[in-house]
Symmetry: C2
Subunit: 179 residues, 2 copies
Amino acid sequence: MGFKRISSDVVYKGKIVTVYKDTVRYDDDGEEAEREYVGHPGSVAMVAHDGERVFLVNQPREPVGEQQVLELPAGKLDVEEEDPLATAKRELAEEIGKSAEDWELLKGPYYASVGFTNEKVWIYLATGLEDAEAEADENERIEIETVPLADLDALIERVVDAKTLIGLELLRTRLQAKG
Amino acid sequence: MGFKRISSDVVYKGKIVTVYKDTVRYDDDGEEAEREYVGHPGSVAMVAHDGERVFLVNQPREPVGEQQVLELPAGKLDVEEEDPLATAKRELAEEIGKSAEDWELLKGPYYASVGFTNEKVWIYLATGLEDAEAEADENERIEIETVPLADLDALIERVVDAKTLIGLELLRTRLQAKG
């Protein structure tokens, strides 16, 4: 059931989006096929909580036409080879003004939408939060929202963003296990 | 914090991927910005189980270079306006050869990757499974795998596909509540 990549071409290169068209050959029957997909540098998202509240952000999301989407603090890897944990630390400071003493990979990398993009996502649990030293605001349109951990079930109901669903569901499982 | 879409242009149109470049204007300061993103017709995924086992599929995923990815049965909406439940019923038959008596929207629509694509995903719980009437195989490279519900925790550890993580985590929560 395996395949080999025979060729890979960039068919569109924009500011954020790069579209590739690859030719692959399947091992079993030798069939060749073209596969079009979107290259992405990868993302991180942080489940940051202080034992009582989880820190989220609200921001306009133009691609989906939503005025406000409630999400985990998150960001893209600056370059494909950037260490995801380094990205996570940088983005946590930039988005919610916090640093964290304890970092744990909660899940990842996983694939955001395996049928059409190579985007990988790493989700970190960030605890032992402290105010970060002053960081330039990456985006003034981001608003911080904190939600009590006691309200996690209702929060998950509200969420419409995939990485946020995954991170908060894993947090819920984690907190239940601790009882 | 709102914005309005001023213009929207297709800058690349491929077989699967359409890239848009929109101009938006923010209500608060009148600033205009260009936003590039990928148009997608939307997806469905099905958490199909018979009370003892959940039905998954393994398939090569060329965009991410993986020979096999373990996923919920899933599929794209044929057209943007297709009823997601109709898509789910069709894809369940095509991918695992089953029909379901009971359908419930487990989550959705949510956004797969809100920063760069408008892809929406609907996840359905499909129970009361029966063998479907003969359906043409959509893709002969799909292999069905069933996993006992008792092994759900270990299964979730293995999964690297976002929609599958979300669906199986919600199933776990559901089964615990009934527990």
